[in-house]
Amino acid sequence: MPKTLVQEFTKGLWQELPPFRLVLGLCPTLGVTTSMENGLGMGIATTFVLVGSNLLISMLRSMIPPKVRIACFIIIIAAFVTIVELLMQAYTYPLYLKLGVFIPLIVVNCIVLGRAEAFAYKNKVSLSMADGMGIGLGFTMALGALGAVRELLGHGSVTVWGDFSYNLSASFPSFQPFSFMVQAPGAFICLGLMLCLINAVGD
């Protein structure tokens, strides 16, 4: 079924929105969303890897033998992850320190490998790019949203790169931040409830 570029791009934003519709890539989703800033940073890093690996795999798809394709995908993805790692170390060092172990772990993020296997290996370069960007943008939005909810409830305010901030405690003086949300158990429960909400809206 031939689809347009726009369709391939927009499906990542709702229809196949990771990590809600495609329940993949949960580790970074749970691990880094203690603040909106971290969530967005992780999303952007993943998007870069996703677009890069989709592009390269799609370009090389006639050359990669089917039997060793997974190994080839992993090497290509690992190369892009190394690029991101070094770039972040050079330009966004504080964010690099905060995301820590989760940056090298983009390499084992099931979303990236999943898109390579399910999409880029079978489709044209332009479509694969659109797919990578769409899924990446969806993932970034989801991480940003989850981070925003957790930060807002956990700390009472949201700040993104010092430019944008919103203070819930100022608007609702009776609101008390509960740090449970920014700690480990809050991540699971918050994601579970958001998934529930998306299921309820989607149906």
Binding site: L26, G100, V107, V108, P185, A187, G192, N199, D203
Partner: protein
């Protein structure tokens, strides 16, 4: 840090699944039945101990020695992927009974962030060889403990009446949050 503290820290305080959020895909994927959960836990323990020590040796004696530290991510994933393949072939030939038990879980381990994550953590925390070995084993044991506890709970949830939007993954995540809360009590012990 003494070994006893290290063991407690790896199993409970910094539980790889519930406190560090590594390896959550297989955590949700293989916990629907107790049998598969036990199989996955065993496979992870087996691979993680071997991978954790081998990557430590490679990092210390090859990458650091030749100034190739920036190739860490790539080197580790290649080592893990080939190791998993090798373990699979080795078990198939020499210990068929174990292979039959672990069989389908082995390929899944390549993309298990817990394995890669522990290898990277061992390096980041500057563990010695013996510490890496102990940490790898007990992180994996913590993974197994959490996975088996969770599988037990999920089998019970099957019998409960859950509202439609909350079904399946959603309720599983909330349950995982509850177990995580229990493990959270160990925080600050070490």
């Amino acid at each position: 840090m003494g070994y006893f503290e290290l063991i407690i820290a790896c199993i409970f305080v910094n539980n790889i699944l519930l406190a560090q959020f590594l390896g959550n895909c297989p955590f949700l994927g293989t916990s629907k039945k107790m049998e598969t959960a036990i199989g996955m836990a065993m496979a992870v323990i087996f691979v993680l101990v071997v991978a954790g020590t081998i990557t430590w040796v490679i990092y210390t004696y090859i990458l650091v020695k030749f100034g190739l530290v920036y190739l860490r991510t790539m080197a580790f994933i290649v080592v893990i992927a080939s190791l998993v393949q090798f373990v699979e072939m080795f078990l198939k030939k020499s210990i068929p009974a174990l292979y039959a038990g672990l069989g389908i879980f082995l390929p899944l381990i390549t993309t298990n962030c817990a394995v890669m994550g522990v290898c990277v953590l061992n390096i980041d925390k500057e563990f010695t060889f013996l510490q890496s070995l102990v940490a790898s084993f007990f992180y994996a044991a913590g993974f197994g403990l959490a996975l088996i506890l969770f599988a037990g709970l999920r089998e019970r949830i099957l019998l409960a009446r859950v509202p439609k939007p909350l079904q399946d993954t959603s309720i599983a995540l909330v349950t995982a949050g509850m177990i995580s809360l229990a493990f959270f009590a160990f925080q600050g012990m070490v």
